[in-house]
Amino acid sequence: MYTKNGENYFIVDAHIALWDARPENQLNIHGKQFIDCFYDYHRNLSPAEELWPYEEYLYQGSQRLMKDIFEDGYVDHAIFQPAYLGEFYKNGFGQTEEAYSLAAANPDRLTYNHCFDPRNGEAGLDQLRADHERMGFTGVKLYTAEWHGDSRGYKLNDPWTYKYFEECRKLGVKNIHVHKGPTIRPLDRDAFDVSDVDHAATDFTDLNFVVEHVGLPRLEDFCWIATQEPNVHGGLAVAMPFMHTRPRYFAQIIGELIYWIGEDRIQFSSDYALWTPRWLIESFVDFQIPEDMTEYAPLTIEQKKKILGLNAAKMYDLPVPEALRIPDAPETETGPRQPERADLGAV
């Protein structure tokens, strides 16, 4: 819980990780390139006082995570969103067992989401069923740019992905978080294209699709899809820290999101350990759209409360104290569109 000026904010950090990128876990040069890329994001977007040394960035462990998120970070509940990256790290990047054990030991504070890779075919489906029986998760994180043998990416509307979504339906796994990394195959098209989310969301209306980093660097494509599909949501991973270095850009991102998809489908996340939640929450509660950006209305306290926690709490059925709940806003001006207009052809 975060309190400022007499207002209480129930905080859900909807995207955290417990990763191990230490050299002994790196399988090849790509393992180093991957964490170095994250670390450059961290260095580029963090305030000086929040900067971590490289060695600490490689691995945090359970204790440090609990301190950063819950003791120092005001967070009421956090959700693991693991990236496997088995082609880059010996024991994977996200630490499945450590994260799951931590969540099992702290069920009031942590939710463990799992991951799958549709290119594992039937064997992967069996594994998904077995993992679900053991861990009982309600959400998965999919990284579509994951490398797998000679394939370097997949799409959400691939036939095998649909088989996995059908299995998710049966198992009660209803929240699908999607990280659109630069998918490589086929190279002919835009690697950050989010149109496959459109197809999947249309065909699986009973599943929620949370597009992480709100589709950046293709915010416009994401907004257009999410406008048409009421089961598409935006996760603010990576977008949040722009508040510090590029506040006008952040204002436009949040302004566009509220215009296109409304205040009820946007979820806060620190993307821990890319960043820590404390400064992001403090900054967001203080944040306001610059006055000269007259195309956007000022952010309200209610909108901030929803984004910081209430929206994700609703999706994950997390108990929120009665006094902190806020009803949904009416539909946005852009409204849900009819399927026949769900066409991304014209840019």
Binding site: C37, D190, P217, R246, I253, W260
Partner: protein, 270 residues
């Protein structure tokens, strides 16, 4: 010491690094809609004179190891083509540094293997459609910049009325020049009476659809500007001193964009 004297004296008309840099300035990052020389992506240019012409060696660099390989390939192969077309150049080597696909791309360029020859099964047809996608986005963003500037300058102009604005209504300047260049790239009309708010085929919008078309164009512009500045910043983070090789981008600029880097923490060498 006679080292300096042993180097061949520059001849009139001899190829210089500035000549190479100038032609590399015609190579665009398709996604960010800017020359690679403005972005700081050209890391080094080396020229060795030879009997049959100069051997030119160019190194390129990108903001992260995981930048999209299709864009990386386009910029690297366009660079090779641009330099090879220069008079007095005998051989060209273009190498992309520190990218997850450096080995693949550099080998493909060295062998002139082309896009499909370089990427094999990961390439289907060509990257032409990808280029067109981003030319269209660049036009959309340039169009929105012009109209939003107009809206900000003229408070009496309503969003719903921008569908009637013509090229002649736009004040001359950088923003308008940029729009004209993007229109030309798409083959759209350039005469003063032409409507500004059009789709990539030049079709105007019905009055009722104008506000939505403008809002969509705005989200495209925000995306491109934000991404362009983030990529520039990441390059400066990754390569100390890279800011000296970058030209400022006024579109979407913020006070913090030129901030000096946070203290560099020691990273072990790869």
């Amino acid at each position: 010491m006679t080292v300096l004297q042993t180097r061949p004296a520059p001849q009139t008309g001899a190829l210089g690094t500035e000549d190479v840099r100038r032609v590399l300035g015609t190579v665009q990052d398709p996604e960010l809609d800017e020359p690679i020389t403005d972005l700081g992506f050209v890391r080094s240019i080396d020229i060795s004179p030879g009997v049959r012409g100069a051997a030119v060696h160019v190194h390129l660099r990108l903001p992260t190891s995981f930048c999209s390989p299709n864009f990386a390939y386009l910029m690297a192969s366009d660079s090779k083509d641009a330099v090879a077309a220069l008079e007095g150049v005998a051989t060209v080597v273009v190498e992309l540094d520190d990218h997850h696909d450096s080995g693949l791309i550099n080998a493909g360029l060295a062998a002139d293997a082309g896009y499909r020859g370089t990427f094999g099964h990961e390439a289907e047809d060509s990257l032409d459609e990808l280029r067109w996608t981003f030319r269209r986005k660049a036009h959309t963003a340039a169009m929105e910049r012009c109209l939003t500037e107009l809206l900000r300058a003229d408070r009496d102009l309503a969003e719903a009325d921008v569908g009637r604005v013509t090229l002649a209504d736009l004040p001359s300047g950088r923003t308008k020049t940029a729009l004209l260049r993007r229109r030309e790239a798409l083959g759209l009309p350039l005469e003063p009476g032409a409507l500004v708010l059009v789709d990539h085929l030049g079709a105007p919008y019905a009055a009722a659809d104008v506000p939505m078309a403008l809002r969509r164009a705005r989200s495209t512009r925000i995306s491109i500007d934000g991404n362009a500045h983030f990529c520039r910043g990441l390059l400066r983070t990754r390569y100390a001193g890279a800011e000296a090789d970058q030209n400022a981008r006024p579109e979407g600029a913020e006070p913090g964009d030129q901030h000096t880097l946070l203290p560099i923490t020691v990273k072990e060498n790869a």
